[in-house]
């Protein structure tokens, strides 16, 4: 193991800037977040970056590491270092705030645009709904519900880069969990939302979202499910 790592860090504001090189001591079991924190605490106190839990629960430390979006807290340097170098940049496909901090507002706005919120019926149910955990619908919900909204899939998606209106994999994955949720009052509304321009039909099933998801979820599969549901609704004249 080398004594130091050469780390290129994007420094700048509002999309303007350049990579600055830092030499960081190499340590055992060192994560990329450790590297960024070392730079901020010891080499450049002005470095802006975002993190919270440090243990892969909050998803706020996601950045581009050697070209791929990753949770930096759960990425060991040894797994990604190339020729003793790391290149760290803010998440792709999002507006740049400063240095390594990207603005996630469009990401969450698109989750709303895709109908990614639970809407119950107006009347209070008289009985608790009995949901079979083994039912296909609930299994589909369980497969997607663990998303914590870190935007790694959004940064990985080429269609988001090419089509600014595309709502992205996380928003559609969330919508798929709601389409399958038996407690949802109006499933048709969710299908209408994901069938709008920039919705599920924009996806090319490239699968970068599923490859990069730090939680090993499969948004690509969720989007395929939405495409099937939307196509069926279209043929029935419901969309």
């Amino acid at each position: 193991m080398a004594d130091t790592i050469k780390v290129e860090v994007f420094k700048g504001e509002g999309g303007q800037g350049a990579y600055q090189v830092f030499d960081v001591p190499r340590m055992e079991s060192q994560t990329v977040l450790d590297v960024v924190t070392h730079i901020q605490r010891n080499l450049d106190a002005s470095l802006a970056y975002r993190f919270a839990c440090r243990v892969g629960m909050c998803g706020s430390c996601a950045m581009m590491v050697n070209g791929s979006p990753r949770w930096t807290c759960r990425t060991h340097v040894g797994d990604v270092v190339e020729d003793g170098c790391l290149k760290i940049a803010p998440l792709r496909n999002l507006p740049h705030i400063r240095d390594l901090a990207a603005d996630l507002v469009p990401f969450f706005d698109k989750m709303q645009k895709a109908g990614g919120r639970f809407v119950a019926g107006k009347e209070v149910p008289q009985q608790m709904l009995n949901i079979d955990p083994q039912s296909p619908a609930r299994v589909a919900v369980d497969a997607g519900i663990e998303c914590i909204g870190c935007a790694v899939c959004y940064a990985a998606c080429d269609v988001v880069a090419w089509t600014p209106d595309y709502v992205g994999p996380a928003a559609l994955n969330r919508a798929w969990t709601l389409v399958n949720d038996e407690r949802v009052a109006d499933t048709g509304w969710h299908l209408q939302q994901v069938a709008l321009d920039g919705g599920c039909t924009s996806c090319h099933s490239q699968g970068a979202c599923s490859v990069h998801c730090p939680k090993s979820l499969n948004p690509s599969q969720s989007i395929t499910g939405l495409k099937r549901a939307v196509a069926a609704a279209f043929i029935k004249g419901e969309l």
């Binding site: 089509t163 709008l196 321009d197 919705g199 196509a231 043929i235």
Partner: protein, 110 residues
């Protein structure tokens, strides 16, 4: 139109389904007809004046032109960031061109 993407998506899928029997028959006839060798004159002898083959390939051309244009529209929109009226005019020109050259070819052999 708020769900134009969906309409184009469905049109592309339905045109693909529509083309499946055409493709199978087209390939099947080629394999069957050429098993003992076949000349251009013999082919034209069967297709010239045939309303059936004219309809078959005419519909095939129209479906393929629509299907292909939607695909080209996606590529142009994504790769060159063409949007709005410029994109729609360009795609109308593409579909007209594809239908025109396709039907011209059908006219030449039927």
């Amino acid at each position: 139109m708020k769900n134009k993407d969906l309409k184009l998506y469905m049109t592309q899928r339905l045109s693909a389904i529509f083309m499946v029997p055409f493709i199978l028959l087209h390939l099947g006839v080629i394999i069957y007809a050429s098993r003992n060798g076949v000349s251009a004159t013999e082919i034209l002898g069967r297709t010239k004046g045939s309303i059936g083959w004219m309809l078959f390939y005419g519909l095939f051309v129209v479906a393929a032109s629509i299907h292909g244009t939607i695909g080209i529209r996606n590529i142009v929109s994504e790769m060159f960031a063409w949007r709005g009226l410029k994109l729609e005019i360009a795609m109308v020109l593409v579909v007209v061109l594809l239908v025109a050259v396709g039907l011209r070819a059908v006219g030449a052999v039927t």
